[in-house]
Amino acid sequence: MACKDTAGGARRRCLEWEAQQRRECRNWRTEQTRRCDDWETTSEQRCTQSHTEQERACDRWETERTQECSDWIVIFRWLCLAWTWVTTTVCRAWSWVTKTVCDVWTWVSTTVCRVWTLVTTLVCTLWVIVTTLVCRTWVFVLDSWCLFYCSLRRLFAPTEFSQLKSECIYGWTSAYRAEIDTENCRLNITLRIRLVADEGVSAADLTAGQAIWEPAIEAAWSGQFPLRMTDGSCTCEQYTVNVDVQFVNSNEHHTVTVHPGSGREDMTNWYVNTIGEAAAHEAGHMFGNVDEYADSNCSGRTVTSDGSIMENHITGAVLVRHYASFANWLSNRTCCTYQAS
């Protein structure tokens, strides 16, 4: 997954986590508060009910005892009534005490419940704050890493691209200018070549050669395959490659010596009679591609037979793999992954 996506995903997950945790804390507090309220109500009802029953029992006791006392003779009646009054008073006092104890217990237990609710809600909130902080710190670290990583990748995709290449006993420098046009989703590749005339090659020969080589290279290498984004989130889903060959007198990417007649051209030595297809093959090296034909001096080479321009410039064409250098440059430049397809 692309770096930017990872950081973006982490940021999103952090927000989701925070929202979810806050919601759970809120639900917990609501539920706990309800339980405390229920507890308080139930306890109060229980106390009241108990007190009422107790009062009723005391009243009944008093009534019954008073009735019994009325049957007694006067002197004992008074004693009986006194006793009844005392026991009823004790009964009511007991009822009041138990009611008070019950109320106190209700208040204490409800308070404990509410304090517990407060404390746990506080802990929950703190947990949300701490975890969100950790999560956001992680996102910050990821963002910083992404910034660093993408900046580092960008170093490998300078506008004036140059890279040493080697294969078996061959070695060269691949160089070109690459610019992205995000408005038109186009990757513009400029190949500046300085032609040096060998002995026996006139300015007219060079001009005639340029008229053949430039369109041949541009036609062979431009717009063959789109570079599609396979990972990341960048402005353009796909880029079109546009190759522009410029023959210059200075500030060149490559110097090519043009020899008279025909001969064995290589990347930096062409002949007046070099055909456009051969120039397009040599341009392939300038873009960083290796040869794909059999070479007895290069036994480790991958020899292809799928119609590649790097195997046979006459019958071959630019294939998907030949855009690898462009795709790699684009990926490094944008920090998204692009592949030719």
């Binding site: 080697s166 294969e167 006993i169 061959y170 070695g171 060269w172 007649g261 025909s262 001969g263 064995r264 051209e265 290589d266 990347m267 930096t268 030595n269 093959h281 040599e282 090296h285 290796v290 040869d291 034909y293 059999a294 070479d295 007895s296 001096n297 046979n312 410039h313 006459i314 019958t315």
Partner: protein, 149 residues
């Protein structure tokens, strides 16, 4: 093959020969081999796989024989004998598609000395360059520009 400097007896050039082979049979330009004998006889052949049409194969002869027209064989053989035969290959990485030149020099029938060098190095070498240029001119004439080194 011995790589020490080979001897050359100017009095008997007919006993010596130089062979130059450029390229690779498997490469797109194939292998061009040219042999110059001290008596001025030249043979040249092209070996390779034509990547072009079958018609071109028919039209293109690949073997030529003749004699030197523009150069003195003794002069060319003398130049060949003065090459740096102890030179090590490769002296540098090759340019993509760059051909390798293989020089062979010695008495006829003997293995002689062999020297391998990158084509562009051969062209720029003060001793090899003029020799190569001379042989190219002769081959162009001999093959009517069909073959090139």
């Amino acid at each position: 093959m011995a790589n020490q400097r080979p001897s050359f007896d100017k009095a008997h050039p007919e006993h010596y020969q130089i062979t130059i082979a450029i390229g690779d049979m498997l490469s797109r330009h194939g292998l061009t081999r040219m042999t110059l004998a001290g008596d001025g006889n030249v043979t040249a052949e092209w070996l390779g796989q034509l990547k072009d049409t079958a018609e071109t194969v028919k039209q293109m002869p690949s073997h030529f024989t003749g004699t030197l027209k523009r150069h003195d064989p003794v002069d060319l053989l003398l130049k060949a004998s003065q090459l740096d035969w102890g030179r090590q290959f490769p002296s540098r990485p090759g340019i993509p598609d760059e051909a390798i030149v293989v020089w062979q020099f010695g008495e006829k029938g003997s293995p002689g000395a062999e020297l391998r060098v990158w084509l562009r190095e051969a062209e720029q070498d003060p001793l090899m360059g003029p020799l190569l240029k001379g042989l190219r001119q002769e081959l162009a004439e001999l093959s009517d520009n069909h073959l090139y080194l």
